[in-house]
């Protein structure tokens, strides 16, 4: 039998070379599972990777690809545009309005104790403020921050919304305002409305106060991260801010303090979810479960100054207990407005805000 002589053509050679070049990738993909986690960047990423991502990789022997692109709403826009397959397996930092949308549009996986056993440890409130298409892994609240060198500590939301009453004219151009693109602005408007007898159902008093505040506004920003340079270089002195980030900066000797005004505050539930088209759902559920693990919760919340997503951890340091939500009594004192209502009215509120600010 004559021996066949193999004479590869140019196409075969190119195809073979491509296959050889692609091999390492295939081997890597097959040798260990990968999980794509979408969350915030910046200082959050540093804390999150160290306290949650790296221990998860170590425990499960998998590789986590960190996707730091986008805000919560932008992440949900990707989920919607891709019909539930946005390229990441875990949307680790959504807010309640996106979880409600995910339930209505059926783009997020329902989560039960079967997929996430640690759900049995979460606060009762965590089950009532969002549908089961997400879980609350941490909490924050809406605080006021102020420049400690130039202003006295604010006591009331009125000190922000009507700053001249307490601080006089020196605060003109020194107040920071947030665009309603940021949920922080919506929560601050709700607190303003409450000062005048309104609330989520009637935000008109807040827009009247915004009109009064306008001459005192020195800058308007779209994201809380964007406001930090203004505080760092002391261009602005007073602003609403998320408690965790503010406390994180305060601990690093930034020139501002953090306080909860006497009228109370609104809580922010930081949520995690799994898009319906996630490639690695099993591992995504494991990740959400791991995020609620007691040790992981302790490490992350102590480092990021946020409040835990589970109720059964009691051995917090005293300073942490004072500033964070660690007991049922503290949790019950925090208000959580109806996020479904916020979602439905946000467009109109944004337009009203724009009309006042234009």
């Amino acid at each position: 039998m004559p021996r066949a002589v193999l004479r590869p053509g140019r196409r075969q050679v190119i195809g073979g070379a491509a296959a050889v070049l692609a091999t390492p990738g295939i081997v890597l993909a097959q040798s260990g599972e990968q999980l794509v986690v979408n969350a915030y960047g910046g200082e959050f990423q540093e804390v999150f990777v160290k306290t949650t991502i790296e221990p998860f990789e170590k425990k499960f022997g998998v590789k986590v690809i960190y996707d730091d692109a986008g805000s919560a709403a932008e992440d949900y826009a990707k989920i919607r545009a891709s019909r539930g397959a946005p390229g990441f397996d875990v949307a680790a930092e959504l807010t309640p309005p996106e979880i409600f949308l995910g339930a209505r549009e059926r783009l997020l996986e329902p989560l039960t104790e079967r997929e996430v056993p640690n759900l049995r440890h979460v606060w009762a409130k965590s089950r009532s403020i969002i549908p089961n298409t997400g879980l609350v892994h941490t909490y924050q609240y809406t605080a006021l921050i102020w420049n400690k060198k130039t202003l006295e500590k604010p006591d009331s939301w009125a000190d922000y919304w009507n700053p001249s009453a307490k601080y006089g004219d020196k605060v003109r151009g020194r107040v920071l305002n947030h665009h309603p693109n940021n949920l922080l602005a919506i929560y601050a408007l709700i607190m303003a409305a409450k000062l005048k007898g309104g609330g989520v159902d009637n935000l008109e008093p807040a827009f009247a106060m915004l009109r009064e505040l306008k001459p005192f506004i020195g800058a308007t920003v779209q994201t809380s991260a964007a406001s930090v340079p203004y505080f760092e270089n002391e261009q602005v002195w007073l602003s609403p801010f998320w408690s965790a980030r503010a406390a994180y900066y305060e601990s690093r000797d930034y020139p501002f303090g953090l306080t909860i005004p006497k009228e109370g505050t609104i809580g922010l539930a930081n949520c995690g979810a799994v898009p319906i088209g996630a490639r690695n759902k099993k591992l995504a559920f494991e990740f959400l479960n791991f995020r609620l693990d007691a040790d992981v919760q302790r490490a992350f919340n102590l480092a990021y100054f946020s409040s835990p997503g589970r109720r059964d951890i009691t051995d917090w340091p005293e300073s942490f207990k004072v500033a964070q939500i660690t007991t049922e009594a503290q949790m019950n004192a925090i208000e959580f407005p109806d996020s479904e209502v916020i979602g439905q009215r946000r467009r109109d509120w944004t337009r009203r805000w724009q009309e006042v600010m234009a």
Binding site: R80, Q222, E355
Partner: protein, 281 residues
């Protein structure tokens, strides 16, 4: 016959796949009914009614085109003398000067825009200089403002104006200018009656290019603008990616696209009418 078809087919196919089809989807989304940000699928014109009935949104639409026209005009005004000098100079550094004038293209528009932010903000270089010189007592509110957006965009788009006008000046037959001067026309008269009309296509090209890019620009209006200076691009981003109101965002995008096409066609027809006598001459 087959080769030109093949050559055109590739870019045409690319445009069809990545521009025409997505744009068609976008336009169709603008007619979709939505309930609390969730598209429900029914047909409606309500999104356009919402946009056009609101003074806020109408102002943003008008502001977008005012910014586009101002940027186009400023780019032409600034780039014409620069291009004229670069084409006519005998300086041995001429090529370096051309490269230098195009160098802004090497830096990201974000970097350049933040450069303007550093200059124009309340505690910025401009205010500090004016305060130091004693020309002002209080910092001026230079940001956010429509003026800052126009300056930032004009700076970013200047190279496009320089390139189109240099091309036009290079195509000008120098003997026409010499003929005009030999017949007694002054330098100014020669420039106004010969050079300027014959380079009108370059001016129109620079204006149109800058205008088209400026009306759809997002980064510069987002950084140098504020709540009182919203333009269509910043509103579209807000509708689509923050409020997740895709129907209204698509309607705004459709308005931007349609009005831009109409304005560009009108401007280009005007440019062609202006071009005819010069060509004939």
């Amino acid at each position: 016959m087959r080769l030109p078809f093949m050559l055109a087919a590739l870019p045409a196919g690319f445009l069809l796949l990545f521009f025409v089809i997505p744009t068609a989807f976008l336009l169709s989304a603008s007619f979709i009914e939505s309930d609390g940000m969730v598209p429900t699928g029914g047909f409606t014109l309500e999104n356009f009614e919402t946009l056009l009935a609101s003074r806020l949104y109408r102002s943003a639409i008008i502001r977008t085109f005012v910014v586009g026209a101002a940027v186009g005009g400023l780019v032409v005004l600034l780039s014409y003398p620069l291009a004229y000098y670069l084409v006519r100079t005998q300086n041995r550094w001429r090529n370096w000067l051309i490269a230098l004038s195009l160098s802004p293209l090497l830096a990201s528009v974000i970097v350049r825009t933040y450069g303007w932010w550093v200059v124009l903000n309340r505690e910025g270089v401009a205010n500090n200089t004016l305060l130091t010189l004693g020309l002002i007592d209080q910092p001026l509110a230079l940001l956010p403002s429509v003026g800052a957006i126009i300056v930032g965009l004009a700076h970013a788009l200047l190279p496009y104006g320089v390139l189109t006008i240099i091309a036009s000046l290079n195509g000008l037959n120098p003997s026409l200018e010499k003929a005009a001067m030999s017949l007694g026309a002054s330098r100014t008269r020669t420039f106004l009656s010969v050079t300027l009309p014959l380079t009108a296509p370059g001016i129109a090209g620079g204006f149109l290019l800058s205008f088209a890019i400026a009306i759809s620009a997002y980064a510069t209006p987002a950084i140098l603008g504020g709540p009182a200076t919203e333009v269509m691009a910043t509103l579209i981003r807000s509708f689509m990616l923050v409020q997740l109101d895709w129907a209204l965002g698509s309607a705004m995008a459709a308005v931007l696209l349609a009005s831009a096409i109409v304005l560009l066609v009108i401007t280009s027809l005007m440019g062609r009418r202006g071009e005819q006598p010069a060509t004939a001459g």
